[in-house]
């Protein structure tokens, strides 16, 4: 336990020092969370993505916090909020179908800026996921690029071509790793692009497995990739890649979608195939510690995302329910016992969570 706190403090100190001087410092992660920002994707084409804020002290959830704090945006964020990233004192909201990144002050939820994601021909790029490194936010887009946003100017400074349908992105070992899923390419893509965040180039593209989507990293410089397969001959796989040697060190036939590494385990959700329950996987052989991470019988209808608070080690599971009505967020302790839950109304399909401390 203590070791891990230490490790996190060190990691965050590292991240902190790599920030530019002008950045608002991110509070250290070892303070308890005061609030949870919850991004609900909404329903495709309904322009109903919501940013809600849950106050842990009084258990109040403000479902439409962004609109409440920004009356000049009566319609809110737009369509399909895909990722939420708190970094350097700013909250970045990746809006997939509305094709832009919204930047919000996490202290009061107020609008700071919005960054449009368009191709040179003016078409939407459909941004997907974001990861932070140094002074930049790197955002994958479905047109097969990774855009680097300067966290000071909030402008896209670089657009780095990667594989078609760039999906997940994670920083590890001073590089960025991007899954290229390519479901509309013949036979799917099966690669991970490696980006050098200093030269803003793709330095290498590695074959990892068909239709790679989810990606997560550990402290030792390994990344884990969830490959969905092609739904016919190639089944789903979970792959471990050593970033120092750039070699695949483990492959298992486990169907996963969302994967999150934390504290020696991988927390995983099932995919098109696989388990309907959230699971905790062992790092030695990717086997499940138990068939269901939840131990107290709490029913999560449609587990949609997993977020772990490194400070409290609480595991938050977003429940999309029926995907058309209000979802729910469950907080479990590390043993899988429910601590609390709240409805995300009017937020439909809650997914990503960010902590304010």
């Amino acid at each position: 336990m203590k070791k891990n706190f230490l490790l996190f403090s060190v990691l965050f100190a590292l991240a902190f020092t790599s920030c530019s001087k002008n950045e608002t410092p991110t509070p250290p992660q070892n303070e308890p969370a005061k609030g949870l920002y919850v991004l609900s994707e909404g329903s495709f084409g309904q322009n109903n993505s919501k940013l809600g804020l849950y106050n842990i002290n009084n258990s109040q959830f403000t479902g439409n916090y962004f609109v409440q704090q920004n009356p000049s945006f009566p319609l809110g964020l737009g369509d399909t909020g895909n990722d939420l990233l708190l970094y350097g004192g700013k909250l970045y909201i990746v809006m997939n179908v509305s094709s832009y990144v919204m930047v919000v002050n996490p202290v009061n939820g107020k609008f700071i800026d919005s960054i449009s994601f368009r191709t040179s021909a003016g078409l939407p790029k459909y941004p997907r996921n974001a990861a932070a490194y140094s002074n930049y936010i790197f955002v994958t887009s479905s047109d097969g690029t990774v855009s680097a946003i300067d966290t000071l100017s909030l402008a896209i400074t670089h657009s780095i071509p990667v594989g078609i349908n760039a999906e997940g992105i994670v920083a590890a070992n001073n590089k960025l790793y991007v899954t290229n899923s390519g479901p509309f390419t013949a036979g799917y893509d099966s690669t991970v692009s490696i980006i050098d965040p200093v030269s803003f180039n793709e330095t290498q593209r590695m074959v990892v497995g068909k239709n790679p989507v989810g990606i997560t990293s550990d402290e030792a410089g390994n990344i884990y990739i969830s490959c969905q397969g092609d739904y016919t001959t190639h089944g789903p796989k979970l792959v471990k890649l050593n970033t120092a040697t750039l070699s695949i060190t483990k492959i298992a036939d486990t169907a996963t979608s969302v994967i999150k590494y934390f504290n020696g385990y991988i927390y995983a959700l099932g995919s098109y195939y696989g388990s309907p329950y959230p699971r905790k996987l062992s790092l030695t052989d990717f086997s499940a510690m138990s068939s269901n991470f939840i131990t107290d019988g709490t029913v999560v209808v449609s587990p949609y995302n997993i977020t772990i608070d490194p400070q409290s080690e609480d595991v938050y599971i977003s429940d999309a329910k029926n995907y058309v009505s209000a979802g729910e967020v469950f907080c479990f302790d590390k043993t899988g016992k429910k601590k609390f839950s709240f409805s995300t109304s009017p937020g439909v399909s809650p997914s990503k969570i960010a902590f304010t401390r």
Partner: protein, 666 residues
């Protein structure tokens, strides 16, 4: 497989038996009444609710398509995505659009891929009559499939019994808002005494770029993009009358369209470049013969060819854009007969065999199932026609089997479904009638439900529905200003089980179809019709329809949506149509209204879609231009109060728009 053959043999047997019977008989006394009788259906004594729009009403409402016209029926929900090319599907009494059967000149139109018909694509200019049966069709001489729907919309484009003595030509030209141009022509003629022909066609174009209020900024106006549509329609009808009671009808239909698919408005990133083209052709033949005085036989056949191309040139997920090409075919044969038994009963038997196939013609990465569906539907019913009581009991047998090239084929279907109906006229003069009906029906999964890449689910079962209706209808002739009035009030209860719903798995880009829905609907449809006395050349008629509809999602009693109203289903809706003629002038004011609805299940402000009302005015002044030329100029003003409303959230409807035109009869 063996069973398959058995049905084919049985079917051939029905044909083999019925054909010699047709030839063997000569005389006839039964009137040649069909579903498409010109005589208005007596909806007072009907056993199930029937609503009718005649040509002179159809031309005064909407924008030349069937979907716009049927909005005026009660109990009907038209999902209108706006614009000329926008999808328009019709569901009756919350059964879902897949339960609405569409008969075009006596034979069903079917889209086995989507499982529902886009009624925005059927023009009304050539139609004489539109009928809606909210339940079982009463007529017993129809293809068996006509009884395999929850509701039937019967479109009649011509009636060859119209006595034409010489060649008749009609030319019309319309133009209007958003670049609308719509020429049409029709020629009816006779060759010899027995052949009647009709050729008709139309062309329609609209750029569709109508203005709408910008969602992000109510003070600004934007124009709808990529909403153009171009269509060509050609129809040829032929009737050969061997004699009054023995006729052969052939119809050839060609429809071609190219359109933009503007999609819903996506705020902050409105962009659209998807295109759709349709090519639909069918050839159908119906041969009806009366045998003796008490038996009628109807043999029908149809071949349908449908080719659809969807293109997204800006599809960002692949370098060459996206192109989907689908070819759909249907081969259809049907035999039907009805026979009067004693003086009280009529027995109706019909049997249809048809094959649907779907092929994907574009480059595909995953193998496509290329399903072929074999359907055998048989229907038997007995109708009793008493002086005061009319009753019908029938059974429909639905058999379906599928074959695929790759993957699993859908589970076969074998179902027997009953239907019962009853009408009772307690009074001597038959001007008051009570009716009661029950119908159970299935909706087989569509090809899209079953085989759509990754989404489809071949283990789907058919949806099941049950419909109950209780109604009262009456009409009265008055001595005063109101010459006569009629009223119908029906209450109903519908239940849909095993409803097929798309459910995403793990993320919004992976969906699957599951039989998980259950819907309980109850409601009331009321219709009032007044006709006033002719005073100083003023002749007026007022029709008012009202619908109350509670359609509850009862799929899962653990869900927050349990017993909430279905999305997009207004509790109150209605229509009015006021028609006046003053000398030659024809005037009409009509309107539609809908109460608020929710776009998604949760009844919360965020999901609210506001109530709306839209009114239209039509005026025409026909005149005789010369001895043989009859002209009818008209003007049609739609949404006269310039309301910005939505039927489907983020699909803005056009504000005020107009059409001007002239029809010339030679």
């Amino acid at each position: 497989m063996k069973k398959q053959y058995r049905y084919i043999i049985l079917f051939i047997f029905i044909y083999a038996v019925s054909i010699p019977i047709c030839f063997a008989q000569q005389t006839d006394t039964l009137p040649n009444v069909s579903l498409h009788s010109k005589k208005p259906i007596n909806n007072i004594t009907a056993q199930v609710p029937v609503q009718v729009l005649q040509k002179n009403e159809i031309e005064k409402i909407g924008n030349n398509n069937v979907a716009d016209a049927v909005k005026y029926f009660s109990g009907v929900l038209v999902k209108d995505y706006g614009g000329l090319g926008g999808l328009k599907t019709v569901s009756v009494r919350s059964l879902g659009a897949g339960y609405t059967g569409v008969l075009y000149d006596g034979l069903p139109i079917c889209d086995a891929q989507a499982g529902q018909v886009d009624l925005g694509k059927i023009a009304t200019q050539q139609l004489n009559q539109i009928q809606l049966y909210s339940g079982q069709v009463n007529n017993l001489l129809l293809p068996a499939r006509s009884y395999a729907y929850g509701a039937v919309l019967a479109l009649q484009s011509w009636d060859a019994t119209d006595a034409i003595s010489k060649t008749q030509t009609t030319i019309s030209l319309q133009g209007g808002s958003f670049g609308l141009i719509n020429p049409a022509a029709q020629v009816s003629f006779k060759t010899g005494n027995k052949f009647t022909h009709r050729v008709n066609g139309s062309y329609q174009y609209s750029n569709g770029n109508y203005p709408f209020t910008v969602y992000e900024n109510a003070a600004a106006t934007q124009k709808r993009q990529n909403d153009d549509m171009q269509t060509i329609r050609l129809e040829y009808d032929m009737q050969y009358a061997f004699n009054d009671s023995n006729t052969l009808q052939i119809k050839a239909y060609h429809y071609q369209s190219a359109q933009g698919l503007p999609g819903g408005v996506i705020i902050y990133a409105n962009n659209s470049s998807q295109r759709l083209s349709n090519n639909n052709n069918f050839l159908q033949a119906r041969w009806q013969k009366n045998i003796k005085h008490n038996t009628r036989v109807l043999l029908s056949a149809k071949y349908n060819y449908d080719y659809k191309v969807y293109r997204d040139p800006d599809f960002i997920y692949s370098t060459n854009g996206l192109e989907n090409k689908y070819r759909q075919q249907e081969m259809y044969v049907s035999a039907a007969a009805d026979k009067k038994l004693f003086s009280l009963f009529t027995l109706g038997l019909s049997s249809d065999y048809f094959i649907n196939s779907l092929q994907r013609k574009d480059k595909v990465f995953t193998p496509f199932a290329s399903p072929v569906r074999y359907n055998w539907i048989s229907h038997a019913a007995l109708q009793a026609n008493g002086k005061k009581i009319q009753a019908q009991a029938g059974f429909l047998y639905y058999h379906q089997q599928e074959k695929v090239k790759t993957g699993n084929a859908a589970v076969g279907i074998k179902r027997l479904n009953p239907a019962l109906s009853l009408a009772w006229q307690p009074l001597q003069d038959k001007e008051l009638s009570l009716r009661l009906s029950y119908k159970s029906m299935i909706r087989p999964p569509s090809f899209d439900d079953l085989y759509y890449t990754l989404v489809g689910n071949t283990s789907l079962k058919p949806e099941q529905s049950q419909q109950w209706n209780l109604g009262i209808a009456g009409k009265k002739i008055f001595p005063g200003f109101v010459q006569w009035a009629s009223i119908t009030i029906d209450v109903y209860h519908n239940l849909v089980r095993e409803k097929i719903l798309a459910v995403p798995r793990q993320n919004l880009f992976q969906w699957t179809m599951l039989n998980i829905g259950k819907v309980q609907a109850h409601g009331l449809d009321a219709s009032l019709l007044f006709k006033t006395k002719k005073i100083h050349a003023w002749n007026a008629q007022l029709r008012v329809n009202y619908s109350y509809q509670k359609s509850l999602d009862v799929s899962d009693n653990g869900s927050s949506l349990y017993k909430t109203q279905l999305p997009y289903t207004p509790v109150h809706s209605g229509s009015m149509m006021w028609q006046v003629t003053v000398h030659q002038l024809e005037l009409s004011v009509s309107g539609l209204f809908s109460s608020y609805r929710y776009r998604l299940g949760d009844p919360i402000a965020d999901n609210l879609v506001k109530e709306w009302a839209s009114f239209e005015v039509y005026a025409a002044h026909p005149f005789q231009a010369s001895k043989n030329i009859y002209c009818k100029p008209f003007v049609s003003l739609n949404n006269i109060f310039n309301q910005q409303y939505e039927v489907i959230r983020f699909y803005p409807m056009p504000r005020f728009n107009y059409r001007l035109g002239i029809t010339i009869h030679l």
